[in-house]
């Protein structure tokens, strides 16, 4: 996702490290971190994923005044009818926007869009106080025949740069679109 301004905050790093179950003090304790090689608090390796917080149009976050496709009064906010429990083989597809790994972003597809691959190249550690920006470009596209139909893969390259324009992290994501629920691939 393209993001103009992704300010890196200490509290956000702490919460991200907690969420992935990493208690390494280098992610929250400044006095500890100062005695390590990196010399300050840094962000964990997959932290740039949270740049979604700063994408105003990010489709996988509910927004005030807009319908959300998750459940509320009905199983999906996009439909008024209460859905009967569906078996895994008969999906009411069509309500899943693409995953951030598929950074084409917001397209609602007739099927599942899942995150197939992710790769980060690190140019320097991310520290609190950094203000990053992210630019996204489309990469390769390819098809594969899966057990339940055709799988469409799409690659996106995201470049995270600091306030001086220096490259900090390069991310390569691969999203896959399928015809129905997927119990083999992941997201």
């Amino acid at each position: 996702m393209a993001v103009d301004e992704f300010p890196v905050e200490k509290g956000a790093i702490l919460m991200f490290a907690r969420a992935v179950g990493d208690t390494n003090p280098v992610y929250y304790d400044e006095s500890y971190a100062q005695r390590t090689e990196v010399g300050s608090v840094i962000a964990p390796p997959t932290f740039v994923q949270s740049s979604a917080q700063f994408d105003p149009d990010y489709p996988l976050r509910p927004k005030p005044g807009q319908k959300w496709f998750g459940s509320g009064r009905t199983p999906s906010g996009l439909s008024e009818a209460p859905a009967a429990p569906a078996s895994p083989s008969q999906s009411a597809a069509g309500n899943q926007p693409s995953d951030p790994g598929d950074a084409s972003g917001s397209a609602r597809s007739m099927g599942s869009s899942l995150h197939a691959e992710q790769e980060f190249t690190y140019h320097r550690p991310i520290r609190p106080g950094d203000v990053l920006s992210a630019t996204v470009s489309a990469g390769k596209r390819w098809d594969k025949q899966g057990r339940s139909g055709r799988l469409e893969f799409a690659e996106t390259i995201t470049e995270y740069r600091d306030q001086d324009g220096h490259l900090v992290v390069t991310a390569r994501g691969v999203g896959v679109r399928t015809a129905g629920p997927v119990t083999k691939g992941s997201n």
């Binding site: 990010y58 899942l114 992941s186």
Partner: protein, 140 residues
């Protein structure tokens, strides 16, 4: 302490159980931290009744983030040059995840010595859920 090339051999490995009995709450915690609130991960009603899955399941990026700890605990903070993962199988609430990393190559580069790793995360059934690789700067 950062790793030394001279202390490493191709084939050296580390293995650790990274999460036992993954909770829906941790998945929601990751949703909040990452900003990805996809109901497939956070909303059991939507995941089962609309999307047709047996339950919510973890973000692939949560598994990748959990697995990163095995690498950073081994190679040291700020030492990763690259970290990549393929999401092979879904991770469900209740899963116990173990990861194993192994040195696949040691090489000299213009920027100094580098160690390459392969990494695999498996669930309690022995199924691989994440298959990846990484490279890290090491000391001579």
């Amino acid at each position: 302490m950062p790793l030394k090339m001279s202390d490493l051999s191709v084939g050296d490995s580390r293995q650790e159980t990274l999460v036992e009995d993954l909770t829906r709450t941790q998945i929601v915690q990751y949703a909040g931290a990452s900003g990805d609130y996809n109901p497939l991960h956070t909303d059991e009603v939507f995941a089962t009744q609309v999307a047709g899955y047996p339950s919510v399941f973890a973000h692939g990026m949560l598994t990748m983030g959990i697995t990163a700890r095995l690498l950073t605990d081994w190679v040291g903070d700020g030492r990763l040059l690259r970290y990549g993962a393929r999401f092979v199988k879904q991770v469900w609430p209740g899963d116990t995840l173990s990861a194993r990393a192994e040195v696949t190559a040691l090489r000299d580069t213009d920027e100094g010595p580098v160690a390459d790793f392969k990494v695999e995360t498996t669930n309690q059934h022995g199924d691989v859920v994440l298959a990846g690789s990484a490279s890290a700067r090491v000391d001579r």
